[in-house]
Symmetry: C2
Subunit: 310 residues, 2 copies
Amino acid sequence: MYNPIKPSNAQILNLIKKTWSSPYLAVTSSTYAIFKRKFDYEEVDHTDGIGTKGYYHWKRRTFKNAVIDALAMNLNDLAMVGAIPYKLQNHIVLPKDDTEAVVKIVSFLAKECIKRRIAITGGETSIQDISDGVDISITVSGFIKKRKVNKFKVGDVLIGFPSSGLHSNGLTKVREVFKKEIRKEFTVPTKIYSDTLLPLFKKYDLHGRMHITGGAFTKLKNLLINTDAIITNAHSLKPQPIFYELYKKGVADKDMYRIFNCGIGFVISVGPKNAKAVLAETKGQIIGEIVKGKGKVRIDSMFTNKKIEL
Amino acid sequence: MYNPIKPSNAQILNLIKKTWSSPYLAVTSSTYAIFKRKFDYEEVDHTDGIGTKGYYHWKRRTFKNAVIDALAMNLNDLAMVGAIPYKLQNHIVLPKDDTEAVVKIVSFLAKECIKRRIAITGGETSIQDISDGVDISITVSGFIKKRKVNKFKVGDVLIGFPSSGLHSNGLTKVREVFKKEIRKEFTVPTKIYSDTLLPLFKKYDLHGRMHITGGAFTKLKNLLINTDAIITNAHSLKPQPIFYELYKKGVADKDMYRIFNCGIGFVISVGPKNAKAVLAETKGQIIGEIVKGKGKVRIDSMFTNKKIEL
């Protein structure tokens, strides 16, 4: 519950109130953002933050990008189950009291939420001088009109969607490799795929949907039952130079695919009949296919031309 | 959404699933904890974490206490509006990968949730080597059967409930005063008052309800409109020696009441007719009264016998 006793909190409360003209819920008491839902679907909640990417966002004060990262980490995972986000709570950690930072963060967050009709129902700011970065963790609630199994099927075409770069995972590895160096590429925000995917969900039968984040391509294994995913076109989405640089600085190619998205931020699978239409409507590219197998992900490495198995 | 790809995550998922036999919601898909609510009341969400107290919990590995702190910070605030908690999401930050710590945290959390019929619908663990403490932030959803205004009234008796010590605020000040020293008193868990307060809510007209946390006694000002709170019995709940020690080490008495709970973790106000019954049923003590005024909190300091005004 926001406490408007401090002037910045009153400002924050005003920013948040702008998100309350939601079609999905009605705020019935503004003091504590008490609300009633306006629908009766199944729901799912999701929590995620920006991890150690917050180190770079704090140093470069790229708070808008930090907000997009936090939103993306949640909305993209919710898109995996076709959930439409309708409200959220945030938890902002800052290494020191910094009203300008808090107001910027909440202001960007409110703007992005209004675009997507998400109500901000509350949150907390925590000053932690034991941390050396900003963290924005968000808990987003979404509703599901019609639940769909999430599973790759034999014969499916794998479609990858381009990432914007490192996104919000593997940053601990990045710091290990680049030591104290701070680069613009480290704070590029994660792509929000749910804006593209939710409309696709309505029109096509998307068999498998996976957000490539922590664990990178190993995550695809969750969707493989008696099948393998064969990725032959790992380079087709024109991965950013940063991935090649990480490889050159000593990250093994198998680890590259375990830790980083390597240019592919989201993967879906569809039957061959739907592939063409999905490609025509989006920036997706065919990166491979699903065959009978034992739950393995097999990738033609774009770094070595070796075959990687995860 | 919990990803059971790592063995510890499968273990975590099993712990969480035990919380799903909730009377308030039905989990309809266990893969992502998709659910439907079993009630139609107003609701409120609340997010809070344990702040820099996590520095001490990490050093002393007092994870059970950390979980109680995180729960208390949320449940006590929800108790201010009489909200019955029914589900939560967690976000756990650890300075390094530590499966034992994660399993302990989720295990304690699940146990406490089952007691209170709260379903854990998901969460995230984030390894952040840029932090020097554990943080557990939780987003709890509660429902409200009958909304009640939260306001102190002229003539009300102020009843304070004893704290267990420092609770989860003012720890940055504690570290400033005690430097590198780490004491048992710094990790004593916050009292969970909602277990006492929710039954009281049903039986009595509790006019004002305030959880004494960040901002300490200044928080009472939120509930004062054309009234003052007069606290004449600040010492009546036998505050722990740590508060006197902080004062002796140089924290001014006005700051003591601005930063620390000084032995009083929760304050309610009731009409004189209800006071006796509330005192008989609880560990509460009369600490003062509400008079006509200008929104001030006036305290007879237990440190100096001076009169403090907040």
